[in-house]
């Protein structure tokens, strides 16, 4: 009787041990099998990096500090549940390349308003900036750019249904068009549609109101801003989706982190390939415009 009880105890202990073991194993192994949605390019285990590389240091540190916009609808918006938007998704996908699946949780977001984006990299407050950040030569003097991961550009917003049948900037001649004074957008408009009747206001939301009331035919500025406006009133506005300038958005890294920059370029190509880039778009800005083709990364020499 006694031995039997002892036996049962042993069996029970062994069984529970086995249960615990499978439960633990499930965490990593199970996910791989159950991925029936989009495929993931993230390795299931932590990848190894060359010792001394920026990636190895980040992996060791356990966090990726990312500067994003907090107020750019669909790209970077601060919500009670964290930062949401296309830029935030891209940052998480990059983190998955460093730590493997679930690495997105290691991203630590902070706000990087336009004027401080070089500064936060230079003073090492962040490891990278994904904040609707246009690549240009002047900025390349101070920071490194991976990407572009998105090709933005000046576009046109019209009333829903596009009553005036605006197909591009050439159709704006002779039409009342709203933009914001002091912006490059309004200079581009004056240059590319010289016959347009330019209405200059202080904010894009004021322009949206003019469009809503039918006082102007179109509003023009960066498509990312327009996408944000359309997201707020999808029944009233639509995007022409025919950009007439090029604003390649890059991922800013510290200027001396060249290995990191080149690695991000590889990582971007991975997520282009796997379809995760498109998924990230569809989940965010895709609410307003369909996913474009991902742009080709530019591995420039510093």
């Amino acid at each position: 009787m006694r031995t039997f009880t002892k036996h049962r105890r042993l069996i029970a202990a062994a069984a529970s041990l086995a249960l615990v073991a499978t439960a633990c194993g499930d965490d990593g192994g199970g996910d791989d099998g159950e991925e029936d949605g989009g495929e993931t390019s993230a390795p299931s285990e932590e990848p190894e990096f060359e010792e001394g590389s920026t990636m190895a240091e980040l992996q060791e540190a356990g966090t990726l500090r990312v500067g994003v916009k907090y107020d750019q609808p669909l790209f970077g918006v601060q919500t009670p549940g964290g930062v949401e938007g296309f830029d935030a998704e891209i940052a998480k996908l990059i983190a998955e390349g460093i730590w493997g699946e679930g690495g997105g949780d290691n991203v630590e977001f902070s706000e990087a308003v336009s004027a401080v984006r070089e500064e936060v990299l230079e003073n090492d407050s962040v490891d990278m900036v994904v904040a609707t950040y246009t690549i240009n030569d002047e900025r390349k003097e101070r920071v490194g750019f991976a990407g572009p991961y998105y090709e933005a550009g000046q576009d046109i917003m019209v009333a829903a249904g596009n009553p005036e049948d605006i197909g591009g900037v050439e159709d704006l001649d002779g039409q009342p068009v709203c933009s914001v004074e002091g912006s490059t957008s309004i200079d581009n408009l004056r240059e590319m549609a010289p016959e347009a009747e330019v209405v200059a206001l202080d904010t894009y939301s004021a322009c949206a109101e003019e469009l809503l009331q039918g006082r102007v035919t179109a509003v023009t500025t960066d498509n990312v801003i327009l996408i944000g406006l359309i997201d707020e009133s999808p029944d009233d506005f639509e995007l022409v989706d025919n950009p007439f300038t090029e604003e390649p958005y890059g991922i800013g890294v510290q200027r001396d982190a060249d290995d990191f920059r080149m690695w991000i370029n590889d990582r971007l190509e991975e997520i282009y390939e796997s379809g995760e880039w498109e998924e990230a778009w569809d989940a965010t800005a895709g609410a307003v415009v369909p996913a474009p083709e991902p742009p080709e990364v530019d591995r420039y020499e510093q």
Partner: protein, 218 residues
């Protein structure tokens, strides 16, 4: 100095266009304001209680609201409920009604300065109220208040710049366009300030002349 001169020459079309809009707005708004001001002032001193109340309400409404708020409210808010006027017309109407409230108050103080005996005498010989006001009191009142009316013209002229916010391409807007193109707002706004100065100084001379010609010798 040389640079400022070059900027003026290079942008003269834009500056002249802006100046033109500013002057049109100022003149039309002031004419409207003058008519409105007289009507409101007359209502304000009229024996009809309803008219007097209305005039008081009108004055307090327009004097207690910033012009920029009125401009946006009428243009944007009005647009939603079928406001019939275009951009420039709206600016003229809003500015005219606004300045009109101040003109009414100036006139009222002028009216109060006309000895009561004159109105009493006019009524005693059987003149109806409108004639008492229009033929006896107001002509004297207006003369007394020419200096404040001149000040209001100047304020009215400068207030036109507010209507940039509803998209009027007036002189201040020209300054902003030039400043943005040059990336030099100081030069651009120095030019614009100079142009306002010339306009205001010029009209002040005219007002002085009017004042001397129409002054009542007392």
């Amino acid at each position: 100095m040389r640079a400022i001169y070059d900027v003026i020459v290079e942008n003269q079309d834009l500056l002249v266009a802006g100046l033109r809009v500013t002057v049109i707005m100022a003149v039309c708004a002031y004419l409207l304001a003058f008519v409105t001001g007289n009507l409101i002032a007359a209502a304000r001193v009229s024996p009809v209680k309803v008219l007097e109340r209305f005039a008081a309400l009108y004055v307090s409404l327009f004097r207690n609201t910033p012009l920029i708020v009125l401009a946006i409210l009428v243009w944007v808010g009005g647009g939603r409920v079928g406001w019939p006027f275009g951009r420039l017309q709206t600016a003229i109407v809003v500015l005219g009604l606004y300045t009109g409230a101040y003109i009414a108050e100036s006139l009222r103080s002028g009216i109060n300065s006309v000895p009561v005996g004159q109105a009493e005498a006019a009524r005693a010989i059987g003149l109806p109220f409108l004639q008492v006001v229009g033929a006896i009191v107001l002509p004297q009142a207006i003369r007394t208040v020419i200096p404040p009316l001149g000040n209001l013209w100047i304020a009215n002229l400068k207030n036109t710049s507010v209507f940039m916010v509803i998209g009027i391409d007036e002189l201040t807007r020209s300054g902003r366009i030039i400043g943005s193109a040059l990336s030099d707002y100081v030069t651009a706004f120095a030019i614009v300030a100079l142009m306002y100065l010339v306009l205001v100084y010029g009209s002040a001379q005219v007002i002085n002349l009017l004042e001397r010609r129409l002054e009542i010798a007392r």
